[in-house]
Each structure stands twice: as C-alpha cells, then as structure tokens.
Amino acid sequence: MELASEHDLSAILRRIVELAVQLTDARYGALGVLGANGGLSDFISTGVTDEQRAAIGDPPHGRGILGLLVSEARPLRLRNIADHPSSVGFPPNHPPMRSFLGAPVSARGSVFGNIYLTDKQGAVEFDEGDEETLVVLATQAGVAIENVRLLEETERAHERLRELSVLEDRERIARELHDGVIQSLFAAGMSLQGAAAMTDDANLAGRIEGVVTDLDRTIGDLRNYIFGLRPGLLADRELDRALRDLAEDFQERTGIVTVVEVQPATAAAISAEAGDVLQIVREALSNVGRHSGAETCRLVLRQANGIATLEVDDDGAGFGSASVEGSGLPNLRARAERIGATLAIDSSGNGTTVRLEIPLLR
C-alpha cells in the first residue's frame, strides 16, 4: 500500500469502508480517525445519502458505543445498539440503526480511530465471520493511517534538518567571508595604503587610493551581508550621499559627465531598500560605462503620487533587445521585484533610460 498524502489516505479509508460494507452485507458503514485533540480529524461514511448527512449535522463525537471501541480497543458485536448500556441514542434526523459491528482502527498498539457497520442485511445480526473480516480491514486502515503519520513526521524532520542545514550554511558562509575574504581584502587594503604613502607620484597615489576606496566599499557590502545591516547604518541620510558618491566615482572612472538630481526626502523614504537601490544604480551605471558610448548620464530620484522614481539615463547608442540578457538587466529586474518595485528599460538610438519605481505607501 503506497501512500503519499492525506488525500491518498482518505481514498484508501473510503475503499476500506466500502469493502467492509460489501463483504458483510451491512447497510451502513463508517470510519472515524482520531485527531490530536481527541475529536475526529476525518470521518468517512457510506450508505447515508448527502441529504441525510446534511440533516444529521456534525459527525459522531465518539461518545457511547463508538467511544468504547477506542477506549477498550476491541471489537464489539451487538444485535441491537439501543440495548447496550453505553448507548447514547441517535441525533435528530439520524436513520434508525439496529445491528452493530465495530472494531478499533489500530496499528502496533496505537488506536487511531474506529470502523463500524450497522444494519446487517438478510440477518438480525453480524456473525463471527463478519467480525473477522472487519478486524482485518480495520488493521489495514490502521497501518495506512500510521504510514501517513510516519510519512508526515519524516517530512517534518527532513524540513527541520533542511532549515538547520541552511542556517549552518549561512553561518559557515558568514564565518568564511568574515575570517577569510574580509581579512584578505583588509590586508590588501592596508598594504595598498602603505604603498600609496611611499610614492611621491601624486597620480599613482590617487589611483591606489581609488582602489583602496573600492576595497572599502566591497568590505562594506560584505559586512552588510554578514551582519544583516542596512547598507551603512544611519541609512536615512546615507542613501542620498551614497548615490552622489556613486555618480561621482562613475564620472571619475569613465569620463562620462554625470548629473545627479536626488531629493533627500525621497532617499530617506526608501532607505529600507537602500542596499538594493544602490546595487541597481551601480549595475545600471556599469552598463552605461561598458555598453552605451554615452557622453552624459543623469541620475534622478524623485517622488510623486506615492511612488519614488529613480532614473538612470544616458545619451548613448542604446542597445537592441538581443543584448539585454547579457547586460545584467534580468538581475536588475529580479532585484527590483524583491523590493516590490518595477523596473522599466527604454532603449533606443537616442540613449537608454532605466527606471525604477518603488511604491512608498506600503
């Protein structure tokens, strides 16, 4: 018996009840599965019409004779249900039932519920053969339920292990970045600092210091990743400045005249997304530098109607759709989606505009 889900289990239990009814000539059959709180987590019945079921209302609560099947964990055969001292009667609208055969649904000593049949047809009561048949079917139901529960437990355990493994991986990566990569970059930075101090060539010193600054930023990014920091603590007033620094660096490196128009209040309003915004601008500027052949570039951040709009546009040659995939733009889109923003790219022979729109009212 192969089980993959609760859905499969219900189908199997229904088949078992139907088989029991069929093999014992019962008019009605039902199977109740106990839930964690002692009530029924599943109740399957046959012989009762949908209309009757709706009129009866809630499934049995497991008191009376049905409760005995669970508490005493042994089969019970009755000529007339009403004669048994534990009988609590039927709810309103319940069809009359007389003869009864029930068994606990159990496996390896655990009771998972009960299965019972009523109104033996063609005889006044169920016989010993019927009982043996029902016990066999009840055992199969018990094994099926146990299998699904074991399967669920195993999946939960696997999920816990996966979560643990992800956490361990994160910690390991963070440790390796901090103790390995950052320390190496730090040492390289200090060494370059020393080299810059030793030269009389102002141009060379300036270039070395530029590399030191790049290393500094890379270390900053790694620290943000490791410690889950906002990019540069105090980001409220840092994003504005970071965007200007980025543009200034870009202009210095590429010679492309870059104009910055950033509303400080808008920068502050999207500070929670500062890391992703900076990365998007960095990538967009990098594309301008590598692909556009532009002479000027403009970086604008403003807001209107509850939306912050960030634009990086240039007066370069633009690019066809064929080169979009290789330009890192899919990554930009993915990053934009992550912060709930939309990214639009307009590229023609007159230049390219990368536009990021971030809703402010969230």
Partner: protein, 161 residues
Amino acid sequence: MFVRYFVELPLAHEIVAERLEADPQSWLPPIAGSASEDGEALLAEVGFGERPRIARRVVVETGTVAHLGGTTVLPFTWMASSGAALFPRLAADLEVAPILPTRTQLAISAVYEPPPGLVCRAADGALLHRVAEATLKDFLERVATRLAERAGDERPASVSG
C-alpha cells in the same frame, strides 16, 4: 582607509564576549566620544585646524552581535555630527576571540573615510592616518579597560597591545 589594532585581556573569552554583548549601545558611544575628543585634540596639535572648544558629538550605532566560529563580533558605525571631524564616518567590527582559556584577544578592524577638505597633500593624508590609528588605539584600549572592569572586578585587568 583601513585600521586594525588589537589588545589582549587576561580573561576567558566567554566573560569578555558576555560583557561585550551586554547592551553595547549604552556604553560604547561615551567611549567613542572620549576617544574622538582626544583624537580631535591630537589632530589640532599636529596642525590640522584648531581644537574645537566644544567636543563634537559622536553618533555610534551598534549592530547585532554575531558569533562566527569562535569569534564574537560587534559591528558598529561611528559618525561625527560635523563633517570636518577626524572620522566623518567609520565602520568597524570589535572582535573578541580566545587565545588561551584565560586569555582573549580584543581587536578592532575599522574602515574610515578621511575628512574631506583636510587632506590636500599625500603627506597630510599619511599624518592624518597616523592620528586616526592613534585614536582607534586609544579607543580600543578604553573598550578593553571597560570590559576588564565590568561585573565588579576589584581592579582593572591589565591590557597589552
């Protein structure tokens, strides 16, 4: 610019780490403020402007302590309220790592931006960096003293760099 410096504390790593983690936002900013004040004075002494009459306010923000292997790391930033200060912005990690069962290394790895406008010549930059190093050395030693003094120690443990 990069600065790294370390001292050793004659205490078990667990003790130092526990003290480092105990509400750093309450005790780290005053230490940074004092070190910054002395740094500014040193800066004036070596010829970069005058010593400010009123100490500049230092804004320190501490991040969440991370445990990376055997090392306990407290990330923080240090910003001056005035851009002309020694450290307009500094991002650093205070790291506590065991050396021996009763000996712990306390280190600072810091990256700072030199004050714009103060560095006109390469020689100025080198001098400024030395002042920055001296200031962070002073800062770390103050932190070490603080960590050694905490929890009712009878006398401050000695620190060595």
